[in-house]
């Protein structure tokens, strides 16, 4: 075969395949959500989930949830979007179903997949009531008519449709449901740690395309955006570092560690904007879960 025929064929195959992927429908629309949301509960969940931490450019003096927080990764620089009620630059013109699909499935109202810098995989098990509560809370956020900067991502990651392949390969269930035979508080800790509080977003290692590696569950990550580093939070390492349920609870509330040091970096932010707002019971739940982990996850090497 002549070289031009071969390359023509190759180009044809690539074009047909990517065309198919581009058109590949993703996600499912939920049934209409008509539940009444509770603002207080929603705000609490938003705190626990890090919405406010990631979508408020506190260092830059930005308004709450107006986005613009820079996330420097090896794929490019991402900016968290504006989640205020502004209809043009925020989510003011969304429906609650749009919101549900964005949060639980990581798909925009236009049907485009979000980058996994948005940690929607952890939110997949949120109930309709959770969504209604969050939605009610987000309605209380004053509109900010200012666009967050566009992501600055290089080829091929700038092609959104490639994320469909990523989703097909790496999107897994967060497994937040209760485990039989475990205490209520442990199960609550599991729900928070594996879900809303998304510990694994930073504390689980990621592969070359930024997907979490199951065998690195909670084993730490040295290559976080912005050069940050998250230590292992596996039981043996927590014990090595002098942690107990009791000291973890206090650290999640105050940032104070057993050595007297006070957490900074990404975890400082997590405490300051998130876990310090949780109830003592929820902080105890997270600590209880971390100090009494699930066996199967720790032997999967």
């Amino acid at each position: 075969m002549k070289w031009w025929k071969l390359s023509g064929l190759l180009i044809g195959v690539v074009a047909a395949t990517s065309g198919a992927v581009i058109l590949w429908p993703i996600g499912t629309r939920p049934d209409p959500i008509r539940l009444d949301g509770d603002v207080g509960r929603g705000a609490y969940l938003a705190r626990a989930s890090g919405c406010i931490a990631c979508h408020t450019n506190a260092e830059g003096g930005g308004a709450p949830l107006a986005g613009g927080v820079e996330l420097e990764t090896r794929f490019g620089t991402y900016y968290s979007p504006n989640l205020t009620t502004d209809p043009v630059h925020g989510i003011g013109d969304w429906t609650i179903e749009d919101f549900a699909v964005a949060i639980r499935q990581g798909i925009s109202p236009e049907g485009e997949p979000y980058y996994p810098t948005f940690i929607y995989p952890f939110y997949a098990d949120f109930t309709d009531q959770d969504i209604a509560d969050l939605w009610a809370a987000f309605q209380t956020v004053p509109a900010v008519a200012e666009a967050a900067p566009d992501h600055d991502v290089g080829f091929p990651f700038n092609l959104r449709w490639t994320l469909k392949l990523w989703r097909a390969a790496f999107l897994t269930d967060p497994e937040t449901e209760p485990v039989d035979g475990r205490s209520d508080i442990w199960n609550r800790g599991r729900e928070l740690a594996r879900g809303a509080a998304h510990c694994g977003a930073c504390h689980t290692g990621r592969n070359i395309v930024g997907a979490r590696i199951t065998s690195s569950f909670y084993a730490g990550n040295d290559a976080l955006p912005g050069g940050d580093h998250a230590p292992s939070i596996r039981l043996e390492d927590l014990i090595d570092q002098g942690w107990t349920v009791d000291s973890l609870v206090y650290a999640l509330e105050t940032g104070i560690t057993p050595s007297g040091d006070v957490l900074g970096g990404g975890m400082g932010e997590v405490v300051q904007y998130g876990t310090s707002f949780l109830t003592p019971e929820d902080r105890l739940a997270i600590a209880t879960y971390l100090m009494d982990p699930e066996d199967e996850d720790w032997v999967r090497e």
Binding site: F138, V141, H229, T254, G255, G264, G268
Partner: protein
């Protein structure tokens, strides 16, 4: 006994790690690390009392507050001259790019440490003064959907708060500064 030994070993390892991480630091970088370590040890030693785990001793709080105050404010900022970010340092360059914020945090630490001493008369578990609203969860004002922490209490307000709450406020100042200006590692 075995447990004690294990705890001691773990503690020893931890100290060794921390000591090692400050190795190679000299001059002013070393000096500010020593200051930070002194503050760290102060926080460590005061924590059980602030949590109500050991008997309350007003004098100990006054000593700790004085130690924190001594290392904060201008004493701290003077140890961060521009360009003093050698390989051993954990200081992020942002300190000098946003000196005003860094300086304000160091000053805030001094103020809060002073208030901690004032609040030493209010042992852990004392009543909160009115009106302190800690429920700023989601944004400006008293709703929860916004801002980081609630509006910063002033020194007078802090002085009336239970001492353990003021201790927590001090930790928030440490954490905010470490979040913005301390490198995770070199």
């Amino acid at each position: 006994m075995k447990k004690t030994l294990a705890t001691l070993t773990a503690g020893g390892l931890l100290m060794a790690t921390l000591a090692a991480s400050h190795q190679g630091a000299t001059g002013i970088v070393r000096e500010r690390m020593d200051g930070m370590v002194a503050m760290r040890d102060t926080v460590r030693d005061l924590t059980p009392m602030m949590r109500g785990r050991t008997e309350y001793a007003r004098e100990a709080v006054l000593d700790a507050a004085a130690a924190l105050e001594r290392h904060a404010g201008e004493t701290m900022t003077a140890l961060f001259p521009e360009g003093s970010d050698d390989a051993a340092s954990y200081a992020r360059a942002e300190i000098w790019q946003d000196w005003e914020t860094f300086e304000a945090m160091a000053m805030r630490m001094e103020v809060v440490a002073g208030a901690l001493a004032e609040a030493a008369d209010n042992p852990p578990g004392s009543a909160m003064p009115e009106p302190v609203d800690n429920s700023t969860m989601m944004g400006g004002g008293p709703s929860m959907m916004g801002g980081g922490t609630a509006t910063e209490p002033d020194p007078e307000m802090l002085a009336q708060m239970p001492v353990d709450r003021v201790f927590t406020v001090a930790a928030q100042v440490c954490s905010a500064c470490h979040t913005q200006f301390r490198a995770a590692r070199n």
